[in-house]
């Protein structure tokens, strides 16, 4: 019994130590962003107190960059991509798992290429295409690319979920003469809600965090996303530690807040066998 308790204690020590390694650096950046310059360098590990508290970095970020525009752009791009990836992905996943027709397996294979092959490698042609279509430097270009990028994995994950839905459900609806489109939108789609967290982690978070496509497809301030905006701001203000720490914290805090709120569903969605 004693041996077992010592073992449990050891496990907790390791897990606590690793958790600290994981969140320590994030905490350090956020904590110091609320401090005056002198305190950042004088006592980096001390939390801000009445003497050292300062928002000068945040004021600088709001003053010197289009942070509100960037944030709005990221929100538009991510939300539009999310809605369309989930809607189109669920429709495709439903059609591929529910109906068998000639070529359905081939089509499923074709759609799964994108899970393994990064769309980034097509960037040269994507830029050329967007320029030709007059979509260069627009949020639309980003949204289209992100839908194409997110769909394959979303279809894969959603298919796994759809297979777990009991067959009786749709067959009962069919016996009542409900048309196929309504079966999907009114019976199946609401049942896919638990899959949203899983799809979000694997396809939506990478969209919010992406640097590559904003870097190659957008060129003006009015179309930059927050990730690119922060990256460029950091490059310009690298010597202004208050501003840099504030910009980093502003990019960290919304993601952390959403993550902590949804982490329970998110982790249960991840471990619910969607990706075995």
């Amino acid at each position: 019994m004693l041996k077992q308790r010592a073992e449990t204690l050891g496990v907790h020590v390791i897990l606590i130590a690793y958790s600290l390694i994981a969140i320590g650096p994030i905490l350090l950046v956020v904590m110091n962003s609320f401090k005056a310059r002198k305190a950042i360098f004088g006592a980096p590990l001390a939390p801000p107190n009445a003497d050292t508290f300062s928002l000068v970095g945040y004021a600088k970020v709001f003053h010197a960059s289009h942070v509100v525009t960037y944030f709005g752009n990221s929100l538009i791009v991510t939300l539009a991509s999310m809605v369309l990836v989930l809607l189109l992905g669920a429709m495709a996943a439903w059609a591929l798992t529910e109906y068998r027709f000639r070529g359905s397996t081939a089509l499923a294979l074709f759609l799964s290429i994108g899970i393994m092959v990064p769309i980034r490698l097509g960037s040269v042609a994507i830029l050329k295409m967007m320029r030709a279509a007059g979509l260069n430097d627009t949020l639309t270009a980003l949204i289209l690319v992100y839908i194409a990028q997110g769909l394959p994995l979303a279809i894969f994950i959603l298919s796994e979920f759809i297979q777990q839905i009991p067959k009786d459900l749709r067959d009962a609806a069919r016996c009542d003469g409900v048309p196929e489109t309504r079966i999907f939108f009114e019976v199946i789609a609401p049942l896919l809600r638990p899959a949203i967290a899983t799809v979000a982690v694997f396809t939506i978070v990478p969209i919010w965090n992406d640097l590559w496509f904003p870097l190659i497809l957008t060129s003006s301030d009015s179309t930059h996303t927050i990730t690119l905006g922060v990256q460029q701001f950091l490059g310009q203000y690298i010597t202004d530690w208050n501003a840099v720490l504030a910009a980093l914290s502003m990019a960290i805090l919304p993601v952390v807040a959403i993550y902590v709120i949804f982490s329970r569903q998110l982790i249960s969605g991840l471990t619910a066998g969607a990706v075995k």
Partner: protein, 316 residues
């Protein structure tokens, strides 16, 4: 998979069934083909052309690839980036995946409390943008701030500190470890999910036989999650050979010092867009992307046809 389709669907007129499929699959297939598959093929096609200063394209066959792999102006940075990328991947395989497996093993032990708290904390960095993570570590490891140096001093290892991100000998390994720190949550989560799926009877039987937790993990659980470890490995491979953001945000497009941290992603970016006085070259950029595509293809095929096939025998 030969389940009989519902009678209602089977008796549907052919035209209506096709219209239904077009409605459900059409938009996905269209967007995906147009913005993912077509650009990949077009990029490969573009790699066989060259362009002059007037912007006219001329077909040159495989000449771009010969230049890239054999002309020392191109081949030296290319092989440097490819070699660095291999090291980047090796660090992930040697550090990230074992730590992820170990953490998953600890979390899946029976009777451990606060599991969800630990998982939330350890997975948190994975959710952040690589740009944020890169810059944060850049500050932490900076000799200017002195946080890392101070931390080492407090445990009596102050002499160990060096500006790791700035030295040619350590920059790449340091960047790889930053990436490991960020993404260790992915192997942890996937392997944890696989460990939860192991039937309790197997573990209980071993416990009755008097096996301790460590031996149960090593001899029973680990062999059963090998397929997931294979999946994690191929995901790591694809992610690493496509990496760009971290190096670009910490070291810039030049991947310094003196290209010591240059990987294929940053090399591709410089070739495509140019840097400093060097102009961008879309056709050579396309050639680099094509080579990266084939590297990733080889890795994925190795996984699908060698690793996965061999492991399916142990799958449960």
């Amino acid at each position: 998979m030969a389940e009989p389709m519902s009678q209602v669907v089977a008796s549907m007129p052919r035209g209506r069934f096709l219209a239904l499929m077009a409605l459900f699959l059409g938009p996905s297939v269209a967007v995906y083909t147009l913005f993912s598959i077509y650009p990949l093929i077009a990029t490969m096609a573009l790699a066989t052309y060259t362009t002059d200063s007037a912007g006219a394209y001329a077909f040159v066959g495989l000449a771009n690839f010969v230049t890239l792999l054999a002309d020392s102006v191109w081949s030296k940075p290319f092989w440097n980036a490819a070699w660095n990328n291999l090291i980047f991947f090796a660090v992930h395989m040697a550090v990230q995946n074992p730590i992820g497996i170990a953490l998953a093993g600890l979390l899946s032990l029976p009777g451990i409390r606060f599991k969800s708290l630990y998982r939330t904390a350890i997975f948190l960095p994975t959710m952040l943008s690589v740009v944020i993570v890169g810059f944060s570590w850049n500050l932490i490891l900076s000799p200017l701030w002195g946080v890392a140096e101070g931390a080492l001093k407090s445990v009596g290892l102050g002499g160990w500190f060096a500006p790791w991100l700035g030295l040619p000998s350590t920059a790449l390994a340091t960047l790889a470890l930053i990436s490991v720190w960020q993404f260790v949550g992915i192997p942890m989560m996937l392997i944890y999910a696989a460990l939860l799926n192991i039937p309790d009877e197997l573990v209980d039987a071993a416990r009755v036989d008097g096996l301790g937790n460590f031996r149960i993990f090593w001899h029973i659980k680990l062999p059963l999650v090998l397929p997931t470890i294979g999946l994690v490995s191929v995901l790591t491979f694809v992610g690493n050979f496509n990496a760009f953001d971290l190096i670009y945000s910490v070291k810039g497009a030049l991947a310094g010092p003196n290209f010591a941290s240059d990987i294929l992603g940053t090399f591709f970016y410089r070739t495509f867009f140019g840097y400093q006085l060097q102009l961008g070259n879309p056709t050579m950029g396309a050639a680099v992307a094509t080579v990266m595509f084939f590297i990733i293809l080889v890795g994925v095929c190795f996984y699908l046809f060698v690793i996965q096939r061999r492991m399916r025998r142990y799958a449960f």
